[in-house]
Point group: C2
Chain length 446, copies 2
């Protein structure tokens, strides 16, 4: 049933959600928020249909999903039951009060996830895949003939460069060898040689598991080239790596629903600074896309967040409800706690990989992502041989996709419920499968 949007403003509502959520709605995680048994406003809880919410975070097998291979690729990831239940919400109008309130809260909660309190920052949630975020940047924040500096740490950095070129940007690319990342001195040199409208960096390149530094990079850009917008591809980092949007003075972070946020695929999710919106509004030429046009979407997103129905193109109520449920859990847990949990799980996984005598694609520990691990295969083991052995143990890893080294490595995604709910045992199961699978392939640690 639609619920009315009361006089409570967004931050207060979020605090309500975060305060009230815990008692009836335990998170799939050991990192619970403080519990207040009083005053439960059940209208704020995600609606579910026939499957019961799980009620004991420590039960041995809490998921009501049918048995299936454990998906440990770097996105899509395994889902929390409540998120998945939200996907089968009955049909409702995309401009009805119930859905408008849910969409509005979803946008407000994204501000918490990105750690921004600046009212000029603007969240967007569009039907599309993560790739659509690149179009959103390329069609709105840069004009044909303007310069972009793209830092590439793999397949996805190269993709962002391709997208910018399609929309007419002049792209200068600084690419690192597979497993490393462009260093600040060469970036500083490039920034001082030309005035760039924007710089893009892939926070975690899903093809290599390389983590880029954002804080120092953004400081450098603001010091050397203060007008250049700092744009982050956060597809494989948002909700598992620290992103402090305001403090780090970021201008744009684009991501997707299906990675660490833990929602099914199908939504492009992004946050832009007031400065980025200003750059869009100061364009000399109109946006060069229709479906990805901020001109079309900006008033819609502002209206939804103000709980006013609005239409440019039909959103997906089911996906937005699932995102709402995922964000409600994230906000209730607290983003800092979420990042810490991913770091702890990643440290454990990387230690286990090292104990097996395996090397990571990301060579330097400081450059290693916390939501995935790209692992070089031992010399005589092929991915095509090992991956089916993992699958026969109920574990799905991904193969390599960086063309220079594709056959030489595999990828292990460890995000969301798989690391936040220890009762699922996913991490242990995966490490054990990896150990046994390698051994079956004839590998023995040297």
């Amino acid at each position: 049933m639609p619920r009315s949007s009361g006089p409570v403003d967004s931050p207060a509502r979020l605090s309500l959600i975060s305060r009230h959520l815990a008692p009836d709605y335990p998170l799939n995680t050991p990192y619970t928020v403080e519990r207040h048994p009083d005053n439960i406003d059940t209208s704020l809880l995600p609606k579910t249909q026939t499957r019961a919410l799980t009620t004991d975070a420590n039960s041995a097998n809490m998921s009501t999903q049918p048995e299936h291979p454990t998906l440990l690729i770097p996105g899509p990831i395994e889902f929390d039951d409540a998120v998945l239940n939200s996907m089968s919400h009955y049909s409702e109008s995309h401009v009805g009060p119930g859905f408008v309130a849910v969409f509005g809260e979803t946008l407000s909660m994204l501000r918490k996830l990105f750690q921004t309190t600046d009212p000029s920052a603007q969240p967007f949630v569009l039907s599309g895949s993560g790739t659509l975020g690149w179009d959103l940047v390329a069609a709105n924040l840069i004009e044909p003939g303007e310069d972009a500096l793209v830092l590439s740490t793999g397949y996805f950095g190269d993709g962002f460069a391709d997208c910018l070129k399609v929309y007419g940007a002049n792209v200068t690319q600084i690419s690192a060898e597979p497993g490393s990342r462009p260093q600040l001195p060469e970036i500083e040199k490039a920034l001082s040689e030309k005035k760039y409208k924007l710089l893009t960096v892939t926070h975690v390149d899903t093809s290599t598991g390389v983590l880029s530094e954002l804080k120092n990079l953004s400081e450098l850009v603001h010091r050397v080239s203060p007008d250049t917008l700092v744009i982050v591809d956060g597809v494989c980092s948002v909700a598992c790596e620290e992103i402090d949007f305001d403090a780090w003075k970021l201008d744009g972070v684009v991501t997707a629903s299906q990675k660490a946020i833990g929602c099914p695929a199908g939504l492009s999710v992004s946050m832009f600074s007031g400065r980025a919106i200003q750059a869009f509004q100061n364009r000399q030429t109109p946006p060069t896309s229709y479906f990805a046009s901020m001109k079309n979407w900006l008033p819609i997103m502002q209206n939804y967040e103000a709980k006013k129905p609005s239409y440019f193109a039909t959103p997906s109520p089911q996906l937005v409800r699932a995102l709402h449920t995922a964000l409600t859990q994230i906000v209730a847990q607290g983003v800092k706690e979420r990042f810490a949990a991913h770091t702890a799980a990643s440290d454990k996984i990387k230690a286990a990989v090292a104990a097996l005598g395996l090397k990571q694609v990301a060579a330097n520990p400081d450059d290693q992502a916390h939501g995935m691990t790209a692992i070089y295969l031992p010399e005589n083991v092929k991915g095509a041989e090992l991956l089916p052995k993992l699958a026969s143990r109920g574990v799905v890893f991904a193969g390599g996709i960086h063309k220079a080294i594709a056959a030489k490595y595999i990828r292990f995604g460890h995000m969301g419920v798989s690391v936040l709910d220890p009762s699922r045992g996913h991490v242990e199961k995966a490490i054990k499968a990896l150990e046994e699978g390698l051994s079956e392939c004839g590998y023995q640690k040297a």
Copy 2:
């Protein structure tokens, strides 16, 4: 569990699905296919999780969805339970064999829905809303500076024109008064005055309920301007209005998942002719979008249909599974039967509207859509007064959106399960609510 893709080719597989589906999987419709009790290949049935499939198409209340207002707007529409259950399918790899087979079958079944057997025709299913289909046309099938002729019967015809302009097309628009449509003689005149790269027509404009003729229009274009591509916006027509892609020599039909197809919103669905693909391949300039680029998507769609994993951007496994379930039902029923069922329901609704003494926005009976009815309000009744009275009776209609007449009419969507499953009683409920609501507003038939 992933299921292996056997040696059965697509048409043969479709025939298998259509032949085997009925016994265990009754459609929510009185128009059942012939039933064969032998040889059930259950691997071909849509997978569900905890909610049981309904088993009796004639039971009084077959839906397992919680009670909720009946959504009778012109999209999104009410869902069949099995379609909705597919939305909460557990997580799976977008390049794993199970999902690749489902995506491949989905594309093959679209050929049946559009009634094309021409192997050069190409279906696309992309994450996005219906609007993305316009970008797909504008960014790939026409180059900047080329001419497009847009036939407009309302808000959505105007939108298609705007989209084409964003991508640099020179647009000539023939617009009709609200409630009517451009006539063939003026279209013929326009076609003989200038050489157009493409012509677009909104099959049913959701803002007015005006149905455009496609068969005669396409014949005219092929006679007068044979090189001009015939592009149809079928967002509010595909799966409820007859579309005979091959016989009518159409070059493109773009639609969305959430209208008569009966799947939740979030997918752009389209079919293009071999001639349209050729026009794309003969471009002098590259496509002017990245996310909507046929260059990026064409090989992906071809690979998925050939059951080969492929990646450009992550599809939404849950939405594609829901579309697969919806198309499986549509193909099992037969598209001709589906169109006939919508026409029968529409005739009944329009007779009831006339019996209430109300006029439709689409004045000429030949121009009236079969999946929706746009109804002029009586002189002293306001939509803002009537719609809540319908809502209090559990029926959700939409208000007007054509800016010239927005306050003067309401819209009643009658597509998919609401007309195909008489046991739901949606049509009767809506007509009764309309009658009572009008009466409560003080209206009496003159």
